[in-house]
């Protein structure tokens, strides 16, 4: 049955050819995923360093600390996010999202943290995406961080702001702490309305709980500094509690 045999061979080899294509496809996809995961880990590690740098902020070193943090942040984008951009063309941006999302979220956290400490404002997603534009090869489609990762990163930011606020209170910068408190409350309130509309709101709901705990921690700290100050207002006849609570004492006086 030579004819049948030939037909079969043809069918066999068609199948084999097709599977060779599928094999190549899967191999390339997996290798790309690995590279993206590695880039994401690098972004995470270096963004965390930026965040720690910002926490070194004190009353008298603001400029110096932020300058270094901002410089390091630019380096994260230049060195590591640029690697992501090369990989994430076309539909890979969404297909591989789980592979790079942790890194991008940490970067968002670091970038928004720097901005808040510098200007007291929220760094907008559009601004972040604008800074990423020059990193792209003009011939390629530019990478634009998506809203979901931005919001997830923002949710983590409030944890860092809480740490900052407690530190500022110990340092006597009550007004700064109150400013943080207001900012975090605003973010929390705005997110309340946005979260249920997120693609997969499960992670985000957990983060919202943590965020509320952070808000409450800041509020409790502001409360205790307030009642302590109020106690002495009558004594000192001042009506500006903050003027008394001038933070860390000068040990040498």
């Amino acid at each position: 049955t030579p004819k049948r045999a030939r037909a079969m061979t043809t069918e066999s080899s068609t199948m084999a050819d097709a599977f060779t294509r599928y094999t190549d496809y899967l191999n390339q996809l997996n290798e790309k995923r690995e590279r993206v995961v590695k880039a994401s880990r690098d972004i995470t590690m270096n963004s965390k360093k930026v965040i720690f740098q910002v926490h070194r902020l004190g009353k008298n070193n603001k400029e110096e600390v932020l300058e270094k943090a901002e410089k390091d942040l630019v380096a994260v984008a230049d060195q590591y996010i640029s690697r992501l951009i090369k990989e994430l063309q076309g539909s890979d941006f969404w297909k591989l999202r789980r592979a790079y999302s942790p890194g991008v979220q940490e970067y968002i956290e670091a970038a928004t943290f720097c901005r808040f400490c510098r200007m007291g404002t929220l760094l907008h997603l559009d601004e972040i995406n604008a800074t990423l534009l020059p990193l792209s090869d003009p011939s390629l489609e530019p990478l634009q961080i998506n809203v979901l990762d931005y919001l997830l990163g923002l949710a983590d930011l409030t944890g860092e702001l809480m740490r900052l606020a407690i530190g500022r209170i110990s340092d006597g910068e009550i007004e700064y702490a109150q400013k943080i408190c207001k900012f975090v409350r605003d973010i929390y309130r705005e997110l309340t309305l946005v979260v249920p509309r997120m693609d997969d709101s499960h992670d985000m709901n957990t983060k919202m709980d943590t965020m509320l705990q952070s808000v409450i921690k800041i509020e409790n700290a502001c409360f205790s500094v307030h009642v302590r100050g109020s106690e002495y207002m009558p004594l000192h006849g001042s009506n500006d509690p903050n003027s008394i609570l001038l933070g860390v004492p000068d040990f040498e006086t």
Partner: protein, 220 residues
Amino acid sequence: SHAPSLEKQFEGFRVQLEESGSLRERIRAVVMEIESTARLMQAGLLLVHQSRSTPEVLERPKAQIAVLKGLYNQLAQILSECPSQYYRYHGDWRGETQTVASLLAFMHWLETGNLLLHTEAEEKLGLNSSEFGLDVEDYLVGLCFMSNELPRYVVNQVTAGDYDCPRKVLKFLTELHAAFRMLNLRNDFLRKKFDGMKYDLKRVEEVHYDVKIRGLTARD
């Protein structure tokens, strides 16, 4: 103060997310129809286990392919509004599409005795890889699902007196299994499904053996 811009900014996000939410709703509506069409096809194909003639069994399910094509076209239409976000919403039609792929492949095999290739599957559904294609992994999972049907098919065919069926299925499944072995899989869903295929192969081999040893096959 930054408050107004913050509110405005989140308002923007809300709008954006609501748009993607309503897109999702539209996708879901189509997917539910795909699901229900696939269910109809599946119900029709079940008759293959009850010794009806293949052409007779295939008639109705084949008629549904055009329906599916129309639905996938709708899906592609919707997705064309947000190019390159295919994989953002992929989870919403993934499971149903794997079922569809398995049904198409099973029908194709029943009709031709050949494997439905990825490109052929896309063609049947009117899909186009460069815009809205059939994800390769979904297609492969579909093939595994189809493989799971074959032992049952073989058993029932033999019961109904078709003693040549095991040989054909065994040949086909052996080749398919060999082809799958070329893939380097991760520890994921596809790997797990592929792991099951070897039991299908073993079961078909057993039936083939049963038939052969009793001299029930014509010439083997």
